[in-house]
Amino acid sequence: MVLFIEQALNGLQYGMMLFLMAAGLTLVFGVMGLINLAHGSLYMVGAFACAWVAAATGSFFLGLVASLVAAAVAGALVEVVVIRRLYHRDHLDQVLATFALILVFSEGTRWLFGSFPLYLTLPPVLSGAVMLPGGLQYPLFRLAIIGIGAVVALGLFFLINRTRLGIRIRAGEADREMIAALGVNIERLYTIVFALGAALAGLAGALVGTIQSVQVGMGEPVLILAFVVIIIGGIGSIKGALIGALLVGMTDVLGKALLPGLFARVMVGSDAATVGSALASMLIYILMALVLLVRPQGLYGQRG
């Protein structure tokens, strides 16, 4: 039972991290109609910025701030220089241009930081494990990630539902021409939304980079999962991104933890465990296919 709770917490933490990635992706698509493959590169930029600043200043928290700032700046820059020209193009051009951006970002980072992975050290306040009720020890930093994810989710809901910027974002999603006609500086709005999404991705990169390692190409596997999340949740919906991220995180971690054992129990033969683990690694894609069968626009999607 304790094992199950620990795995569920792992799933929750994974889901929260995916949410930070997916939120930006889904916002950018919802408001600008743009598919951005380079979102994973912004995740990587955040992680490298955090590692570099933390090493230079000795402060992990400054590193976290740097990850937000660096990713936001990189995002804004990319938006102004490249992305802006793509809003009126078809999705094929967007995919290709942002794929090209991944190559530029990855090799640029390799040029700046080399091919060696970087490692971050946690400050004593955040390292080690805490005792949870029920006698379970759990790493403090992973709990912190869950907390940060929850705070960001609340903040985003507040931003979109309660602020002027949020009203404009929602208006932009509903009718792009209309909002421009109302005198809102649409170019600036787009840059802000893009930078906001980038900052969240950068934060996710810094947090995950701290647990694992900071290296070139780290954003790519996460990017694909974030796509799965927003397909399941419905493109453009923050709420969908949150629900989708938690579903994917839980399904993946619990599937990998439980399926091999489950198969070994109901199936005979040495193949049981491998069938189980093969199935577990495909589980989230099966989940996605099922959602698509029932609701092609995703759980909370608007468009068909």
Binding site: A97, A100, I224, I231, A278, Y285, M288
Partner: protein, 333 residues
């Protein structure tokens, strides 16, 4: 359609010129004994073939598939699995019928295409329920699903991939001689180009393009886009699957990397670099890609950054790709 007879003739000429250049390179390399150049040219032919497959769906059908590596990989794995069983003298499966391994290319190709086509039918049937950006991501996600399956299924090597040391055989040829293997790949590429040209000009092809350009109008004249697109997607997957089979034989090795999303992206790059919806687009694109990889790859490890900048420039300033640049005419939309 938008292009005049003259434009068509010029494009055909250009296609022939590009193919002749590839052939000429190999002839020179054969005379000078540069075996590796022939291997590179073979790679160009194979990647071009994969691109020809994708071009059918993407260029003419307007289906932006970001998961064609799945079909490339399936073609490769069918080849690897059949070859490894033939090497060990065991059956691949005995249920529902006995299927023995094979190291005959003529037997392997249809199997590879069949398997890739079946996968394309399943993936296409589901994915075509969506459109636009959903379609891109859904095809990507399905390819990832197969990628992870290949990684976690240990029987055929899982993460490590599968080696089969000796290239499969073709009657009358020694496939281990680089130039002979190149001839096989080149012949298949030319066949695929002819098939693709014929298909595009057929009633099927015209209807497919009509559906891409204006779905409502096409529907008004009785074209059912879903079925059309599904057929195009399946043919497209089969051609790319054949390319995968050839690629497996080139390296005598298959691994999940053949199904990775980088591969999907690269196949897409071949098509777009050359020119979307252009017959010889994938050939030009693959040739330039391999050339860049080889020339710049030797100079700096960072050649992919340059490739990225080139791609950006093409997308932003020359959406017709290289062929479009030469013919000075954008893709007719």
């Amino acid at each position: 359609m938008g292009k005049g007879v003259k434009g068509m003739a010029r494009e055909t000429l250009l296609t022939l010129a590009i193919l002749s250049a590839l052939l000429g390179t190999v002839i020179v390399a054969q005379i000078t004994g540069e075996g590796f150049v022939i291997t590179l040219a073979t790679k160009v032919a194979i990647f071009a073939l994969a691109g020809v497959g994708l071009n059918l769906a993407l260029g003419y059908g307007g289906l932006v598939s970001f998961g064609h590596a799945a079909f490339f990989g399936i073609g490769g794995y069918v080849t690897g699995i059949l070859a490894s069983h033939a090497g060990a003298g065991t059956a691949v499966t005995t249920l529902p019928f006995a299927l023995m391994g094979s190291n005959e290319m003529l037997g392997i190709w249809p199997m590879a295409m069949l398997a890739a086509g079946a996968a394309a039918l399943l993936i296409g049937a589901l994915s075509l329920r969506t459109s636009g950006v959903y379609f891109i991501m859904v095809t990507l996600a399905f390819a990832q699903m197969l990628f992870y399956f290949a990684i976690s299924w240990p029987r055929y090597g899982g993460e490590d991939g599968l080696s089969f040391y000796v290239r499969n055989s073709f009657p009358g040829l020694n496939t281990l001689v680089p130039v002979q293997y190149f001839a096989i790949c080149m012949a298949l590429l030319v066949l695929a180009l002819i098939l693709s040209a014929a298909l595009v000009r057929s009633r099927f092809g015209l209807a497919l393009q009509a559906a891409r350009q204006n779905e409502q109008r096409a529907a008004a004249v009785g074209i059912r886009p879903y079925a059309l697109r599904l057929v195009a997607f399946v043919i497209s997957g089969m051609i790319t699957g054949l390319a995968g089979s050839l690629y497996a034989d080139l390296n005598r090795f298959v691994s999940p990397a053949m199904m990775s999303w980088h591969m999907s992206g690269e196949i897409m790059v071949f098509v777009i670099l050359g020119g979307v919806g252009r017959l010889a687009g994938p050939v030009a694109g693959a040739a330039v890609f391999i050339l860049l990889e080889h020339l710049l790859g030797g100079v700096s490890e960072y050649w992919k950054a340059l490739l990225g900048l080139l791609l950006l420039a093409i997308v932003l300033f020359a959406p017709g790709g290289l062929i479009g640049l030469v013919l000075r005419r954008d893709r007719h939309v």
